[in-house]
Symmetry: C2
């Protein structure tokens, strides 16, 4: 008999790779943080002596979901300003709140709240883009969460950095120490947007990204106004500026990409750029609907992201998958477009590819990291079960996630976080609320 740390025995297993496969009567063995084997239950029982036998008789085992784009700390601004135009939302509420409140302490508390919410809902890896990325990385490390932490870069001053050069310097520091070879954290650069970056800043960024072999992600063509204003101010569309800067390549993650012309779609596909689709945020800010089926047909890798909690307002990848599938059909005027399988693929392998982690996460395959999730189908809304993947995408609430493992560590067990004190997190969030609300006129008017 062979030892393994855990033998997980679900009713169904959806490995995502190979595509379309739903296994019944199988078990997954986990050892030293990795997937040791996926095999029929009888063979598993004959081969393994597990330290922990995890029986989940009404559950689906699937890869942990990958939230490819969020601003985790913004959970503390959730519901601060809704039902507003992008400009008013940003300039009158979010930016003033950020200028006044963003600090290492806020980022720490907001990121921890976000990690708790994500783990509870089946997300085991997130791509973050926010100020104080060293605090985000530390919070993720402390809570044993997988994260791709992107250093913000911009020409504007924030409480974290005063110039593009300072952002880049701090980002470079983060790459070198202590996250060069970390089991949970990888790093990237995140220029905010083309309107926040002069050509010289892009040039400096490119040199560094090439030297350090770092991914770059940017909010790109999120709104029609962004494109219009770029044309007015620079004579170029944002994408053209990025291309001119030499940043359109396999290392790029284009976030939002709601509005692309056919030439841009072809160029993105040919260059191997990934795209982070954030359908709920795009709807909420009335920015339009990205034609995801078209992008995928063109060969673009599409990942899914929730965006920050100030424009969603949940960090719920099940809800995001569902919205992506439903909305993708309408955008394509074709009910067969963006199938349940497509949505699941975007939320797992699509995200892993976009974050350049597809060799280690995104599917249940032997040798990959054990980033896994169990979903309990013993609920009225997921019965009866004709098609497991349809049920995951169209009928499952994220609260049905019973278990989550990150690199083999059992972070959520039967609906309870094993390592995080939820009451304490909520208490800290409430304290921030009292302070922040006192400074925002809109909240005072609502009260």
């Amino acid at each position: 008999m062979q030892h393994c740390d855990a033998l997980i025995v679900p009713r169904w297993c959806v490995p995502v790779v190979p595509a379309g496969v739903v296994l019944e009567g199988h078990a997954v063995a986990v050892s030293e943080g990795r997937i040791d084997a996926i095999l029929p239950l009888e063979q598993a029982q004959a081969r393994y002596q597990p330290s922990a036998l995890i029986e989940r008789p009404d559950h689906v085992l699937m890869p942990g979901l990958v939230n490819a784009h969020t601003h985790a700390a913004m959970t503390l601004f959730r519901g601060l300003a809704d039902d507003m135009h992008l400009e008013a939302w940003l300039r009158q509420h979010i930016w003033p709140a950020e200028r006044r409140w963003v600090s290492a302490e806020l980022v720490r508390d907001g990121t921890e709240l976000a990690i708790a919410e994500m783990l509870r809902g089946g997300t085991t890896c997130f791509g973050d883009q926010y100020f104080f990325p060293e605090i985000v990385a530390q919070a993720a490390t402390d809570l044993s969460m997988r994260a791709v932490v992107a250093t913000p870069v911009a020409d504007f001053k924030s409480s974290w950095a005063g110039s593009a050069a300072e952002y880049l310097q701090k980002g470079t520091d983060l790459v070198h120490d202590p996250y060069a070879e970390h089991p949970l954290i990888t790093t990237a650069f995140a220029p905010h947007s083309t309107f926040a970056m002069a050509d010289e800043s892009f040039a400096a960024l490119r040199v560094l990204a090439d030297q350090l072999d770092l991914r770059v992600q940017i909010h790109l063509h999120e709104s029609a106004a962004e494109i219009r204003e770029s044309l007015r101010d620079t004579g170029k569309r944002p994408f053209a500026r990025l291309d001119h800067a030499g940043l359109v390549n396999r290392s790029l993650l284009a976030v939002h990409a709601v509005h692309l012309d056919d030439e841009e779609v072809d160029r993105l596909a040919a260059a191997g750029v990934s795209m982070a689709h954030c359908p709920k945020s795009n709807l909420k800010l009335a920015n339009g609907v990205a034609p995801v089926a078209k992008y995928r047909s063109a060969g673009i890798n599409v990942a899914l992201g929730t965006d920050g909690a100030a424009s969603n307002n949940m960090l719920d990848m099940f809800s995001e998958m569902q919205t992506a599938a439903l909305l993708g059909k309408t955008a394509a005027d074709d009910a067969t477009a963006v199938s349940a399988q497509d949505a699941l693929d975007m939320a797992t392998m699509g995200g892993a590819r976009a974050l350049r982690l597809d060799r280690s996460i995104g599917s249940i395959e032997q040798g990959k990291l054990a980033d896994l999730v169990c979903v309990d189908f013993d609920h009225f809304n997921t019965r009866p079960v004709y098609d497991v993947v349809s049920q995951l995408v169209y009928a499952t609430a994220s609260t049905q996630v019973s278990d989550a493992w990150v690199g083999g560590r059992h972070q959520l067990e039967n609906g309870r976080l094993t390592q995080i004190d939820g009451h304490e997190l909520v208490a800290r969030a409430d304290e921030w609320r009292d302070r922040i609300a006192a400074s925002d006129k809109h909240v005072q008017e609502v009260q």
Copy 2:
């Protein structure tokens, strides 16, 4: 001291009427199934001696949600056929499954599963439209759920009736006995669609609806194809046929109404017709997006419905509110359109008006029936709380519903159904699944 059956003490109370109000430190007294008073906690403690004191210190008390359009029994077809064009979905899967399987037994079991799912998720009243309406009414009565049961009417033969005349006769029987003056059940007529009804059938329906003073609801302008084919076959748009039949009046509920021209919008508004908006179903079948903000501005009362579980696939009014608000903004190209408050209003008073129950349900007002729901905000995704209504619409999962009362009866208590054996319901659903799956090629291919 005055007696009351229950005194509910939440952290927040959102009465919906008056609009925009969020009360803190208030209690709601319930007696004999009705709301006795909404008053400050200290006054409540001085006035009432309650049989039950229900303290919910982290919760919102709100009116029970009204699902204005569903086909409850279709829970048993949930996930049977997804990612298909409307025509293939209906003609190759749903209709064959219905012809083969719909019976009093299936309707009973499917409706009970639906009622359990809806109560669990905060819905306390549903408008149903399906075969065997007498069984739907009986199931709702037995489980103490409020329902508006609409008798289907069509020219096509089903396992329940063979002709429009027979549908109408059976519907008339249902109205007279035993639901003339029932505390939970009201009745209506539901002609399936204009393509399922000859002009003579509409004429017979109208005579009866007028005589019995019954509401009429119909799937109307759900898809562009429906309008195109009506023009081809009859020379008229479906709406024009309905208008010609004299059915466009205050008693009409137009379900879907995705595609209306400006004249039709004005005519609906002037006639006092209500509209049941089913955004998730419309997206899933790629039928388009109803411009809800425009309808509401024109003065049309808009209700929300989940549609059946074969085209959604949840009966989740929180998810439906959220989708309605997010999608409504994009449809209007205006992030201020369909606010959280608007979505909540549609899911409560809008539904009550559409089902002609607005004098008894839809808001927390003295004298109204005690159809109430508590939502637990002590979850990561609903913290911090700046704006209670934003949180309900943009951040709440329906599983956070802790309590539900229907006419004062405590149906869901701390997350547990008090009157329904969930295990037994799920077991029956699983039995249907085995039988139905064996007859559907698509399910066999998936397996």
